[in-house]
Subunit: 597 residues, 2 copies
Amino acid sequence: MLKTMSTYFVRTLREDPADAEVASHKLLVRAGYVRRAAPGIYTWMPLGLRTLRKVAQVVREEMDAIGCDEVEFPALLPAEPYQATNRWEEYGDNLFRLKDRRDNDYLLAPTHEEMFTLLVKDLYSSYKDLPSMLYQIQTKYRDEARPRAGIIRGREFCMKDAYSFDVDDEGLDRSYELQRQAYQKIFSRLGLPFVICQAMSGAMGGSRSEEFLFPCDIGEDTFVVSDGGYAANAEAVTTVAPETKPYDDIPAAEMRYTPDAHTIASLVEYSNANFPREDGREWTAADTLKAFMVAAIHPDGHREVILVGVPGDRDVDMKRLEASLGLEVEMATEEDLKAYPSIVPGFTGPTCAGPDHPDRVVGEDGTISGSPRSLVDPRVVEGTEWIAGAGKEGHHLYHLVAGRDFRVDGTIEAAEIVDGDPAPDGSGPLRTARGIEIGHIFQLGRKYAKALDLKVLDQNGKSQVVTMGSYGIGVSRVMAALAEANHDDKGLAWPVNIAPFHVYVASMGKSEEGLNAARAIAEELSERGVDVLFDDRKKVSAGVKFADAELLGMPYAIVVGRGLADGLVEVRGRRSGDKQDVAVGDVVELVAGYVGE
Amino acid sequence: MLKTMSTYFVRTLREDPADAEVASHKLLVRAGYVRRAAPGIYTWMPLGLRTLRKVAQVVREEMDAIGCDEVEFPALLPAEPYQATNRWEEYGDNLFRLKDRRDNDYLLAPTHEEMFTLLVKDLYSSYKDLPSMLYQIQTKYRDEARPRAGIIRGREFCMKDAYSFDVDDEGLDRSYELQRQAYQKIFSRLGLPFVICQAMSGAMGGSRSEEFLFPCDIGEDTFVVSDGGYAANAEAVTTVAPETKPYDDIPAAEMRYTPDAHTIASLVEYSNANFPREDGREWTAADTLKAFMVAAIHPDGHREVILVGVPGDRDVDMKRLEASLGLEVEMATEEDLKAYPSIVPGFTGPTCAGPDHPDRVVGEDGTISGSPRSLVDPRVVEGTEWIAGAGKEGHHLYHLVAGRDFRVDGTIEAAEIVDGDPAPDGSGPLRTARGIEIGHIFQLGRKYAKALDLKVLDQNGKSQVVTMGSYGIGVSRVMAALAEANHDDKGLAWPVNIAPFHVYVASMGKSEEGLNAARAIAEELSERGVDVLFDDRKKVSAGVKFADAELLGMPYAIVVGRGLADGLVEVRGRRSGDKQDVAVGDVVELVAGYVGE
């Protein structure tokens, strides 16, 4: 049915909402697409709902095309399956929990791994039933600490989550590849630029893990790219370690008095002033080895103190450190350090901990105590020379050589990535960029199937744990990303295939004749299957109508104005900015052709 | 894309689910349409989801056709708006309540009156913005004490709720009529028989209220109908009161000793044995007036004791009584009655309470105390003669005449409706029937607009409270009703417009030739836009395929069997039971015509 502005439930706003910082948030609210109901919880207005449905339909079609069957799980779920996989606890405050009238525990599902696993277990029992792929497009809940940027990070949101079920790893690889290709098609059809980033599979236990990011300055996710095509999450980047070096010519390590050199900057300054290098090169931060004392929190609550060493010209990236350890990490507190007298804050170095430290005790079962583990950046290879804390107030060690003067418990990816770092695949220097995560595919492996006992009989009649993949797209977030990608300072500017309406038809004058001509065009287009929004408002000025048309963002506008006297109407392309005068008799055919109807 | 049984996520079950009592529940689970996730909470399997969507689409199209705009509210909502209307408390245990990480109160919405009201208040301010109608098709939550019959009464369910907003009562009447007509179209298009029943508007405060019921023996709702077209909820039926009668010839009331006449039956028997009527007619239960002592619970918790009198041949219908009073009602307890010594359980009559009772005290503000209110069936008109309890152990009063020997505080619709009672509109005798409530339309009036301060300026610049209507359809319940209406003992039998697939194509033999012929037919139909489910399973017997085809319930089946040698395939109509042999070359055209593609 033809929708008319005089009755359609849309009101544009002149002011940006007070809590909005990013363009998509501002415009989607101002143009009447969404409206805030509570922090991170939005109402879909008619325009927004139409757009969301079109985005979801593209996702649905590509899932169907790879033989992925659509189901829909409840959002309200009993706690038991999530307790079985421990996610009931692990999710912490992010999980909305509630009780029913019989005092049973329920949750609002953040994702549905458990339920998909149990459903397949319920109905399938043989390798002949596999492979299988299932998905849903459904409302999800996460009690985010900081809901942000409108529908980009909400507490109630629309997500497509798909899962694959295979009897062996090769099958999982095939399913993963099918989904990966479907994702590329989806984002291509939506016209949304994307980068496929290697991601950490992390605690989930599988092997391959990739994120689809829409590159965008307001994105929350940092990733790195090279000109040669490498892209990865900062967490997933591996450091290119240099070759080990001979160190025969390096003088013996020497402890020097470095009063007040509590920072790398002051250490470098003091060193250049008091201990200049013989070859005249200045000392730089890169010559120093910075030691961070952190506490890694194990699942049982144990706080393990660790010495993390990185070149002094880099900071520790806590996210990379946490991803590497697979544990939550905090800076070590005074309390944490009480047990380790060798650690002297401000003057700690690799000789203060590690396998060679006299306090180190290795138990019969291999457990380490006495001296903390020492983990250093992969660039700290044998033969590299460093200035580092001496473990004595006001002192540093010079000419400290890795492998000669200290050994470590291992390397760790903890240093921040800096523009210019080499890509691990040799594809050139890296640069950091920001993006919005719009999709994530990863190999779950057998974690959920094991926890919930999903097995099938293989060809030999042997029971096999099923291996799974998980494939998510934030559908409502993708719509926000599309708004980020398709707007200017006047408003939204949707591509045809996701615009809520294809064409905005308006009469700019106040004459009945103009209004009737506009209505005839709108009705004719509508009958041809074109989605038309007809601005039939009589007491609204041309200026307001133009501004609304640009704010609302339909790809084409047909404007009936003074040219009507000469049999002409104007056709405007919202995205191209083109304007052309077209004969009234030709406009329907022309615009229907533009929108493909 | 063509869906094939070998890969499609459907498994039929031979056994009825243990908790299922009604046909739709059994069949929808056995045929793999839905699956229980928790009590009253269901997962939509691929077949069920397709069917639900088709039902929802019919509802959507008819809402759109009357200019009702679609929105979608969150399911997770802050408590404040529901506290403002008092529903946060009133909903009691039926409301799922929870807290977020900041300890704020939230709920899972059972309906969205508050949110719609606030949204319109947010955007509209003038009579020129009205009338407006909005709807959503959305997941709702009610923590039912007794979830029942699968998706007929669930705790998470899909509902269409629409609301109208008008500046005056005439506008509300117009909006109500538009929705009423749309409802008739919806259920007609779905092919679902329905009865429009007058319902109590009850505590909601509006005037018109009608329920759409699907007449069905397993329905939870009782309603009454007459051959002349009257239909109403039992609660909404008004009793046809007889004319008042002269009572000059009736002897004076007389107290008689009636030992052991604690029940109406024993009273009648004792009366006929000991006090036969002079004209020889037997006493019957209809000659007695039964008094029930009940406690009506007021919103402030006060338990008001009331004497309810009904003819002795009828029971009190507690639902009717509660609806009439607009209060929750319990039988009065000994404790309740302690304050009223005139009430003698088993021997209470209308002279034990009411306005003429010596214990009655009327306060200056009109409040009543001392003697309970006495409310009687409308049939107890002036001049009617009764046998009733005398308020003295072992005694009844005979020849007790209403208006002469006792007066009451008022009449009340509390007696059960009995088959043969006259319809209030004179359209003939009533009979009771059962049904499933599939829709409810009612005039909310200004209750929510007042509570949430939704006002607009009228033509004179005066602020007016908006008047609202509320229009619901239980979409998932309608699907269950459709399954009740469309099945036989072998399985489901969907009409074309809501069947998940139009046609089931199967090859019954094991030959490659048969399979290929069936596949070619399936693909050709699919390309023509027909929804086809292709049974390509190779190791499944013809018997199982036939049984599955009948259980799954697609309207047409094309069976490739032995006739293929003669160039024939069989076309079966699931609903008609017809079978016909059709030339292979003609079958696509024929069946595409049947399904309208």
